[in-house]
Amino acid sequence: MLVDIATMAQGDFPEPMTGLTLMHYLMTSGLLFALGLVGFVTRRNLIIMFLCTELMFQAAGIALIAFSRFHLNHTGETFVIFVLTIAAAEAALALALVVLLFRRKETLDASSWAELRG
């Protein structure tokens, strides 16, 4: 399926890449994204969970760069810069939040915060 997608998407463009195709990058990116997802849902530690979201952001970044190269324009690369900025902002926020939480309960376990439910 994925092979199909990658090759087909490439088909319309004038300069087909040789060697490493778009597909490879996309697969890497997809794997990274999936890794992030899996990490996010399986880990309980708030910091690791946050890092997993970073992983997903970076996966998007890889895909952007690949597409950017594929389309032979720089939009994707520009996009990556902004994604990184946002990721940094989020990281700051996340750390602040984690610190705040840690002060309250002395733990980083996400499951200790489950007062609100139903």
């Binding site: 997608i5 708030l46 946050f50 902002a89």
Partner: protein, 541 residues
Amino acid sequence: MEAKLASLYPEITLFITTCAVMVLGLSPQAALRRLCPGLAIMGLVFAGVLALTTTPGAETPLPMLPMYAKTLVAGVGVLLALLLAGSADRVYEAMIDRGAKFDALRSNTGEFWSFFLFSMTGLMLCAGADDLIWLFLALELVSLPTYVMVAVSTGRNRSKEAAVKYFFLGALGAAVFLYGFVLIYGAAGSTDLATIATVFAQQQAEGGLGPIAIGGIMLSLLGLCFKIAAVPMHFYTPDVYQGASAPVAAMLAFVPKTAGFIAILLILACVRWPDGALPEPIHALVWVLAVLTMTVGNVLALLQRSAKRLLAYSSIAHSGYMLVGVLAGPGLAQAAGADASIATSGFAAVLFYLFVYGISTVGAFAVLACLERTSPDGEPEEADDLDDLRGLWKTHPSMAAVMALSAFGLLGLPPLLGFVGKLPLFTSAISAEEIPLVIILGLNSAIAAFYYLRLVALTLLENPEKLPTRPELKMAPMSGRRTAALLSATGVIVFAFIGGPQIAGFAERGATYIPKRVHTGEAAAPVDTPADAEPVAVRDE
């Protein structure tokens, strides 16, 4: 370039206000600090006026959207600002009033108000976006400040819990729609919405969107579901609303939802709507999302004991209703040759409903914000349990009336504003021949009637319970909250008859949809129906 800049005047105004507020909030003079809300409101009003007067410069398929959306944001923003006034640093300010020395490090006023205004700025930017990158940044600008606002809205652990859930799940959602955006870029080769629209139109004409495009759109939609609190990204909603203070919850109910819907509209507008319907997988996706969202929201709201959770679930359900409007699309099929009217355009219906929902839901949250009791830890505790509302008629008649009106308004009982808002959703969905969806929408409204009626019955019909464990509720000292409540209730009645129709007309203009023209290739026969090719031609040349 200048035109583009001109279109950003409202945001710039807001940004300047933001900076001013941030500085002002740090002032050691209490009187100056208290100017923050006023300044914010002034900024919003000014931005709103600018939004109304400046010509939009966007070249997206929804060129008039920014004008409407920014005005809407400014309008409801004023209401939210009124509601938020006095929330920040309440305990701390009280300490200062009692003689404590002002310490800029401990004061949150400036940050709070600037975050609020940042969020509103983001929202306006979102409305004005003509590029995916811009859209992404704007969406993040909407959300990031709200995470903080939730966290600091009360001093309780609940707020922290709410914030952490909101933030982490929000990051997950953001990652998902970011990936979606990436795929859209990958499929279209550009992040410019106008270009994307053109490319997509071309692709559709040549046999349909490719899987990457479809996948990108689907992932974007699913990610944005977080913003609009739609299934399956809705889980955080009740927890966050409950954990946040009522004014902040009201803001959460309006601001990210509006941002999300605007983003959804912008993205879906890039897809050409052949014969008024979306490409099949996206159509199916939105259909499923709409049905699930309204049903899940409503059935869970039935079971709630907490008013905030109830309103949170109702917020989910309303997203479901609006998704019906999204699905109904820009109303092309009927508008052949004529401008899409709000009666047929689901986009217009959604835009109008955002206004209706904003007005009505702010009222309900404002009532909760107005009623508070002193809890053992000294911090005022807002009314939340439904039992708090029992017999409100006896103790706080005006609040009871506001709550009843808001509930009936959210229910969509004629002739209140909620009905006027829901009507275009009905008409547009039927215009799009989504009959089963309309029936489901109707049945869901009926389910919703269960709990809205309960709200009304509790406030108006029951007798108050006097429990020793439950100190009596008092009116919060902030007059802004009361004003917001009363304004919202008045709006729910008045706008149904006066002003509402004009706003609907405004929303109708805001939803003006200009599909991109297809560059006719040699092989491909002209697929445009003659009817909808014409406005395109006018626009594109």
